[in-house]
């Protein structure tokens, strides 16, 4: 592990919270917005320290550690590796993006909105950088409240139901996650994730814990059939909420699998891999078909998210390097592309006051730049070569075919479905009649400033993804190597009051015997 000379991660977590304090003293909405943007940019600049990340190692870096609740063994323990550094970077990228996207759409309770946003960002960075399981859980739960408020206070007409559904679903999963946290503490003797990962657990224990964690993460992602909160939440949330939900929060679930599910319960992960793969493939196809049937732009993007997250989880559970690389890079790419699509949808909504396709017809002639950007991100959405999503999907499909011919064959129609559900609205929006955009103005400077960096990233990550792959490879290889033969511990009970530890070797022996003799 590489200790940090400067507590960069703590700064990244605290800066938005300090920003909240500043907001409390401001009065006019414009000042609040400027302050929020300033804080987000400062956060991004602070995040540039992460460029000191050393490549070629799978060790955690920028370590910060301090005793917190020593009686329970809870530490304030932060760090990032080649997996989590991308998630932190994605969160930092989305921060100013959300603020600019909400500039003119949030008109009531502006202060409270940005306070919620700051707390949410802070909690998200905490989730991705926590190396203490208790701390991880704390940040995991801390995400829920501001999200609930964002949806229920600034959402659409049916925001209350959407917010309630969202919080009930995720709370149900989180409650079980707490059980897993405590169980691992009791079994592993520590909350420290690196220590827990180095420990081997009985197979039965692993299977139960994996199931519990998988439920929590599957709801968060979401995976079919735990997805029914998704369309309501994504549709009813304000634009910034939709962006954060799809771009970052959905990745919490996938990150959970990578950080906890696979390393802590590798045998169980392999055992349940067919189930997870089945759910992923269902998500890909189901999400695709559902998206095709929608007439609301936000719902189309929401269901497309279901499909793309299906690809990501599929990549994770292939247990090969192509799949894992594809999954991780797709987590970043999907965040950028979907965030951009929601942003453009928000821009359209400001003009048409509608997210329906029928309210946004014939744009090509009157607002060509806006239409062009939607088309660009739509093409990125279905993994057009040269765009960022292509890299992730190509790697995942390569990994799928590497694993099993039929697996790849079943997943590949998802690519065609993606094209269908993205092109259908694009074609109608570009050339539909009668045009609803006859009196619209094209993109403003602020809107260009908001969307153009995303377009640049779509192209950059699509054409030159090698740098990202170099950063993530050591951590992913380490994660996949850990799936090799491990020493599993089984408890042998001699009598009622004592236990002897019997060391068993290898996965194969362990899987035959189960968790105990």
């Amino acid at each position: 592990m590489l200790e940090a000379h400067f507590p960069i991660l703590t700064c990244l977590i605290l800066l938005p919270l300090l920003g909240c304090l500043g907001v409390l003293f401001l009065k006019s909405p414009l000042t609040v917005r400027c302050w929020a943007l300033g804080v987000s940019l400062a956060e991004m600049l602070t995040g540039l320290f992460l460029l000191q990340f050393k490549m070629g190692t799978s060790d955690f870096q920028f370590i910060e550690s301090a005793q917190w609740v020593s009686a329970w063994g809870v530490q304030y323990f932060l760090g990032v590796d080649g997996i989590s550094v991308f998630m932190v970077a994605l969160t930092l990228l989305m921060f100013p993006f959300c603020i600019i996207c909400s500039w003119t759409s949030i008109l009531t309770r502006v202060k409270e909105f940005y306070i919620c946003l700051f707390i949410l960002i802070s909690a998200l960075i905490g989730v991705f950088s926590a190396l203490d399981l208790f701390l991880f859980y704390l940040f995991w739960e801390a995400v829920l409240i501001p999200t609930y408020l964002l949806i229920s206070l600034w959402g659409g007409r049916e925001r209350d139901l959407a917010a309630l559904k969202f919080i009930l679903y995720t709370l149900a999963g989180s409650a079980l996650l707490l059980v897993a946290v405590i169980a691992f503490r009791m079994e592993g003797g520590s909350f420290s994730i690196p220590n827990l990962t180095a420990h081997a657990y009985p197979v039965q224990f692993q299977r139960w814990m994996f199931l519990i964690m998988a439920l929590a993460f599957a709801v968060k992602v979401p995976l079919f059939p735990f997805h029914t909160w998704l369309p309501a939440a994504y549709e009813q949330a304000p634009v910034a909420g939709s962006i954060l939900l799809s771009a970052v929060m959905a990745k919490m679930g996938a990150y959970g699998f990578l950080r906890l599910g696979l390393p802590l319960a590798p045998e169980a992960a392999q055992f349940f891999a067919p189930l997870m793969i089945g759910m992923s493939v269902c998500s890909i196809l189901y999400g695709g078909f559902l998206a095709f049937a929608q007439s609301n732009l936000k719902k189309i993007i929401a269901y497309s998210s279901l499909g793309h997250m299906g690809f990501i989880i599929l990549g994770i559970f292939l247990f090969n390097l192509n799949g894992a690389q594809g999954a991780l890079i797709q987590m970043v790419n999907h965040g950028i592309t979907t965030g951009a699509l929601f942003a453009v949808a928000g821009i359209l909504h400001r003009r048409s006051q509608s997210y329906e396709i029928s309210g946004n017809l014939g744009l090509g002639r009157y607002v060509p730049a806006l239409m062009g950007l939607w088309g660009f991100f739509a093409f990125a959405g279905f993994a057009f070569p040269g765009t960022n999503n292509f890299v992730g999907e190509f790697l995942i499909l390569a990994g799928a075919f590497e694993k099993n011919l039929w697996l790849g064959a079943v997943a590949i129609p998802g690519a065609l479905l993606a094209a269908a559900y993205m092109l259908r609205p694009t074609q109608k929006m570009a050339w539909g009649e009668p045009s609803t955009a006859t009196k619209w103005r094209d993109m403003s400077v602020r809107e260009w400033g908001c969307v153009l960096p995303m377009a640049f990233l779509v192209l950059y990550l699509g054409l030159a993804p090698t740098f990202c792959l170099k950063v993530m490879n050591p951590s992913l290889k380490h994660l996949l190597e850990a799936f090799g033969p491990r020493t599993a511990v089984t408890l042998s009970m001699d009598n009622h009051f004592s236990a002897n530890l019997t060391i068993e070797n290898g996965l194969n022996n362990n899987s035959e015997r189960g968790g105990g003799q």
């Binding site: 029914t228 049937a293 590949i412």
Partner: protein, 594 residues
């Protein structure tokens, strides 16, 4: 080796650069810039040397962007010249979007032909799919929008099949090299790749996207689609599947099917589209024959067909531009109003019908010669009969088109025609000249073919057959022309089946799944949420009446006792003393008896 010989500049480069900067150029001079990429492409391709260039690493794979060999070189030379002619034809168009789409399309075509590995091919293949769809959409008619969507979905299906084939091939062979498959030992991935190429080559029954899409494209766009779209697919087939017997059968079906539909179609561009399918069939037959001369014939025909089909589409496009009409039944007697177009249409049709000394003749005669020699899967003479029948039908279709378009009085009066732009006429003239030069001096093309051509092109026998066929076709038309009058409706084709499949997916899968998802959401809302609310109310009731009730009751009891206690406070000493004595007695009794 000098600087030019050792270096390589990809012909697509300037097309892409111009496409990217074109939207930002102002003024009128930008149209002149359109000639730079094709001009450079002609120079670069004529000076290109065989070799492998521009290898780049991408996501751990080695991409080869520039493979120049005896097969790709003739195609890129062809594309270079055609890009110049197409640019000339579209010079008058002031819509930058159309030029941008065209530039990307041409760049992607060059990229596909020069691809040395399947990944590069796939990327440029996708590029062609998207940019060619825009050539239809930019017509901006209502039908064009819908047709473009169908067109794109079909070509994306081709891309998905190609992707699946590539990944499976890599899994089996460990290689992404874009090279020949074993025609006698085809694996499942080979069939997937073949299916992808077959879609783009408009092999029947996967052709309807082309026969529907081409007539809906912009006028210059249709020319580009015919030139670059189909030829790229045929090149890919030539690269991978030479000698595959299945192609002989598919090609024969294509030739006959396309020819029959061309005879009965009524949209002037759709007639050319079907003739394109038919001619493509003859080329596919040539590719499928395991013979060097047949391959040479197929490539020569690709050259020739590119020019005369482009010429015919330019001519039909000019007619549409001038008259604003595209149905054969509503047009007629145009020979006086558009004499140059009429002459060039005849030129193109003569090339298409393989009349000697026109461009189609050398290629067709090479293929027919080799067709006679094959034995599998169809016997040579039978194949020759089929191809001959197709040629006669193509002839009929071509003669019908020109006859009813130019030499018959139309049922409807055409008013004043819009004059054609000079660039359109120049472009058609260039294409016509090429048709003639290739026909009279086929050696100009022979030198670019992969194998040296054996035998003489113009033998007495070949010339006799070459003139006999068209003559027979014209005579047949004279007898049959009352039956071949233009109609108001089109023959149903496979596009109805595609639409049916699309609707089946929409109504059979997407809508029901969305409905089910909605039901599931409702079930959740009415059942789970209501159950949850009910549980909440029960808990609330228990909390208030039960737990809170117990707490409140305890508090109420304490308050009662307090009130009672206050009443006992009378203030009189004798009362207090009496109570104290009673209390003392009670405590004493308690201690004594316990």
């Amino acid at each position: 080796m000098n600087l030019i010989e050792g270096s390589f500049l990809h012909p697509a480069t300037l097309f892409v650069i111009l496409a990217l900067i074109l939207p930002f150029l102002r003024g009128g001079f930008w149209r002149v810039l359109l000639f730079i990429p094709p001009g450079a492409a002609i120079f670069l391709t004529l000076h290109a040397h065989v070799g492998v260039y521009w290898e780049v690493d991408y996501v751990g794979q080695a991409l080869v962007l520039g493979r120049v060999d005896t097969l790709s070189l003739p195609f890129i030379i062809l594309f270079a010249f055609m890009s110049f002619i197409c640019t000339t034809f579209s010079f008058h168009v002031r819509d930058k979007a159309q030029h941008v789409a065209a530039l990307f399309f041409m760049a992607a075509a060059f990229g596909s032909v020069l691809a040395g590995d399947y990944w590069t091919l796939y990327m440029f293949w996708q590029g062609m799919t998207v940019s060619s769809s825009f050539l239809i959409w930019l017509d901006r008619e209502k039908d064009a929008s819908k047709t473009g969507f169908l067109y794109m979905m079909f070509l994306l299906l081709s891309s998905v099949l190609l992707l699946a084939g590539i990944l499976l091939r890599q899994r089996a062979t460990g290689s992404f090299i874009f090279g020949p498959a074993e025609s006698h030992l085809m694996w499942h991935y080979d069939y997937l790749i073949l299916a992808a190429f077959a879609i783009n080559a408009a092999v029947v029954p996967l052709h309807a996207w082309m026969t529907q899409g081409l007539p809906k494209a912009t006028i210059p766009g249709a020319v580009l689609l015919s030139v670059f779209g189909i030829k790229t697919a045929l090149y890919a087939m030539t690269r991978c599947f030479v000698g595959l017997e299945l192609l002989i059968v598919l090609g024969a079906i294509m030739a006959l099917y396309g020819a029959v539909y061309a005879v009965f179609s009524n949209n002037i561009r759709r007639i050319i589209a079907y003739l394109l399918v038919a001619q493509g069939g003859v080329m596919v037959v040539g590719i499928g024959m395991d013979s060097k001369m047949a391959l040479d014939g197929a490539i020569f025909l690709a050259y020739a067909q590119t020019f005369y089909t482009a010429l015919l589409l330019m001519a039909m496009g000019s007619v549409i531009y001038a008259t604003k009409e595209e149905l054969l039944g509503k047009l007629g007697n145009l020979v006086r109003k558009l004499p140059f177009v009429a002459v060039l249409t005849v030129f193109g049709l003569l090339g298409l019908c393989a009349v000697p000394f026109f461009s189609g003749f050398p290629g067709i005669s090479l293929i027919f010669e080799e067709a006679l020699k094959i034995q599998n899967p169809i016997s040579g003479p039978f194949l020759l009969i089929l191809l001959g029948l197709a040629m006669i039908l193509m002839l009929l279709g071509g003669v019908r088109l020109s006859f009813f378009l130019f030499w018959t009085k139309s049922a409807e009066q055409q008013g004043h025609l819009k004059p054609l732009h000079r660039n359109m006429v120049v472009a058609m003239g260039m294409a016509g000249a090429f048709c003639l030069v290739q026909g009279i001096f086929p050696e100009v093309i022979y030198r670019h073919l992969p194998y040296p051509v054996e035998g003489r092109t113009f033998t007495s026998f070949k010339l006799l057959i070459g003139f006999l066929f068209p003559a027979a076709g014209v005579v047949l038309f004279i007898f049959l022309h009352p039956l071949l009058k233009p109609r108001t409706h089109e023959l149903p084709d496979f596009e109805h089946l595609y639409t049916l499949v699309g609707r089946a997916i929409w109504f059979g899968l997407s809508k029901p799944l969305a409905w089910m998802d909605g039901i599931w959401t409702e079930i959740y809302r009415t059942f789970f949420l209501r159950a949850f609310y009910f549980m909440s109310r029960i808990t609330d009731f228990f909390d208030r009446k039960g737990i809170d009730g117990a707490v409140n009751q305890t508090a109420a009891s304490v308050m009662f006792l307090s009130r009672m206690s206050t009443r006992l406070q009378s203030g009189r000493l004798q009362d207090q003393l009496a109570r104290m004595m009673l209390l003392a007695l009670a405590v004493f009794a308690l201690v004594w008896f316990w």
